[in-house]
């Protein structure tokens, strides 16, 4: 039996157009969740279908694609998605951030600063930052429309009342361009400052929830906080075992069953680059 022939990047052209329209609208209204007709993809919901649809819609034959999952290029998901695009689009892929034109990511922003020639595509599970506080979609839409975000601060207040500090460590809500409150996807709050005034275009796709949103380049992105409890990046005060970096986001690796652990850079490409530079010296 012959293998079926795919359209470039799997999606048909009309679908890509529809998604691009949504993306344009999202860019025009930074941080606003644009509904889109999310398609059935050959992977289940919860495995990055939103990110894949966004990537598929903006991918061109000359693009160089990098896919990371929790900072790593070689987890099952990252490998599968990279292979998916290699097969359906035939584009060049890379693990090096600096060489990529499109970077699809699950839950991390690369340590390497991005440029204006790059697009960062986030995989988003729950796009609505208020969802866990207000389950009704009708209400959250209205809150966004009226910029009625008191509830968000209620949540932060509760954290401080209960824990003495804001307890959110990932998916930390931000205010985009002074207007919409946005969920940056489950990236660690450590990564939040990277979204602010970023040279690259940041796109967010939620396949199951059918929403796309965007942060245009060089947009103001501010993490929510209180005057007397300002936003803290938070970082494990350790250095990477492999490359010695003390300013990156670290993964904790359990090495044995006696409590042994070490910390390494979450961004595998960045760590490798640093090690390469070290060796070159």
């Amino acid at each position: 039996m012959n293998a079926p022939a795919y359209n470039f990047a799997y999606l048909d052209e009309q679908t890509k157009r529809m998604i691009r329209r949504a993306i344009l609208k999202a860019i025009a209204i930074p941080g606003y969740q644009v509904p889109f007709a999310s398609r059935e993809m050959p992977m289940p919901y919860g495995w990055g279908t939103g990110g894949v649809q966004v990537t598929a819609s903006i991918l061109g034959p000359d693009d160089v694609l990098k896919v990371i999952d929790q900072g790593s290029d070689d987890t099952t998901n990252a490998v599968s998605i990279r292979k998916f695009f290699a097969k359906t689009a035939g584009v060049q892929t890379t693990t090096r951030t600096a060489e990529a034109t499109i970077i699809q990511t699950r839950h991390r922003i690369p340590e390497t600063p991005l440029t204006e020639d790059q697009v960062l595509v986030f995989q988003v599970p729950i796009p609505e930052p208020l969802r866990f506080l207000e389950p009704r979609e009708t209400e959250t839409r209205r809150m966004h429309a009226l910029a009625d975000y008191g509830l968000m601060h209620v949540k932060l207040y509760e954290d401080i009342a209960r824990h003495g500090h804001i307890a959110t460590t990932y998916a930390y809500p931000v205010k985009v361009d002074g207007r919409y409150v946005m969920d940056p996807s489950p990236t660690p709050k450590f990564d939040n400052p990277k979204m602010d005034d970023c040279a690259a275009l940041q796109l967010f796709g939620a396949g199951r929830e059918k929403r796309i949103y965007a942060i245009p380049p060089h947009t103001r992105v501010v993490s929510l906080d209180f005057e007397d409890h300002p936003f803290e990046r938070g970082r494990t005060p350790k250095t990477c075992e492999l490359c010695g970096a003390n300013d990156t986001y670290l993964d904790e690796v359990v090495t044995d069953d006696m409590g042994g652990r070490l910390f390494v850079c979450s961004d595998s490409d960045y760590c490798e680059k640093r090690r390469g530079a070290e060796q070159a010296k």
Binding site: D148, G150, H153, Y157, E158, A161, F226, D228
Partner: protein, 260 residues
């Protein structure tokens, strides 16, 4: 506490039909700053419909509601945008539900419940927000150490008092109350009524209170409006209407109270 000469809230010919079912018909009155109006009647009288019309939760089939905003301009509430109406609700108005759970976030701490409105209007200092919440909890006689407990853990009377605090924290000028003591034990009612009475006087609040309980009306209100079957039967000074009722229905209502 100065009284302005222009009314704060003006109802003109308010009418509401639910299909062919009459909610209320042709209700008109003027409410001034610092005045409390009780709307009394039995079930089906239309009093709750009226309250919802006044607070823009329902649109009238006919008639108008006008309100004098803080800038002194009187606006027809039907002409306000959704954003303006919400803002009004959050800053200038209060709405106390009969069931406190409807007016509270049950899973969020009392302090957050009271502080929410402040945060919604831009307060960004945790310490000050908490301080304001603590002050208000004290004012409604909730122990200070309950500030971090959610109202799920509160008794009915405490929940109601918390709801009041939540509504009054932004110092509204007009408060709507729907059977504020409904469903509470008698001793709890007494405490709540006394609290309301004190706060209304102290803050110079205007209020529209819907109740079936004439004793509540007598205690809290200056003026009273008796409703039956969607119509206003009698209205006037509370003590006058209750002590010298003119209409047959009012006389019936007044005579039906069991003496203590």
């Amino acid at each position: 506490m100065t009284e302005s000469d222009a009314p704060l809230l003006l109802a003109e010919g308010l009418t509401k039909y639910y299909g062919r079912q009459l909610g209320c018909r042709d209700v008109s009155f003027a409410l001034y700053e610092g005045e409390v109006l009780a709307v009394v009647g039995e079930s089906g009288s239309g009093k709750t419909t009226l309250l919802q019309l006044l607070s823009t939760q329902l649109t009238p089939s006919a008639g108008h509601v006008r309100y004098r905003l803080r800038d002194g301009v009187t606006r027809d509430l039907a002409e306000l945008s959704e954003a303006e109406r919400r803002f009004l609700f959050r800053t200038d108005w209060g709405y106390v539900h009969q069931d406190a759970a409807l007016g509270l976030r049950m899973n969020v701490s009392a302090g957050a419940n009271v502080g929410e409105r402040l945060m919604a209007v831009g307060w960004r200092h945790y310490g000050r927000i908490r301080g304001a919440a603590a002050t208000w909890l004290d004012r409604v006689e909730i122990e200070a150490d309950r500030i971090d407990d959610p109202p799920l853990t509160y008794s009915g009377g405490m929940r109601q008092r918390l709801q009041i605090a939540r509504n009054l924290v932004t110092q509204p000028r007009l408060v709507f109350m729907d059977e504020p003591t409904g469903g509470l034990d008698v001793s709890v009612q007494a405490r709540l009524l006394d609290l309301l009475r004190g706060l209304v006087t102290e803050l110079g609040l205007a209020a529209v209170i819907v109740t079936h309980d004439l004793a509540v009306a007598r205690l809290l209100s200056h003026r009273i409006m008796v409703m039956k079957g969607g119509e206003v039967i009698e209205e006037g000074l509370t003590d006058q209407v209750l002590d010298d009722p003119r209409e047959p229905y009012t006389q019936l209502l007044v005579s039906s109270i069991l003496p203590a």
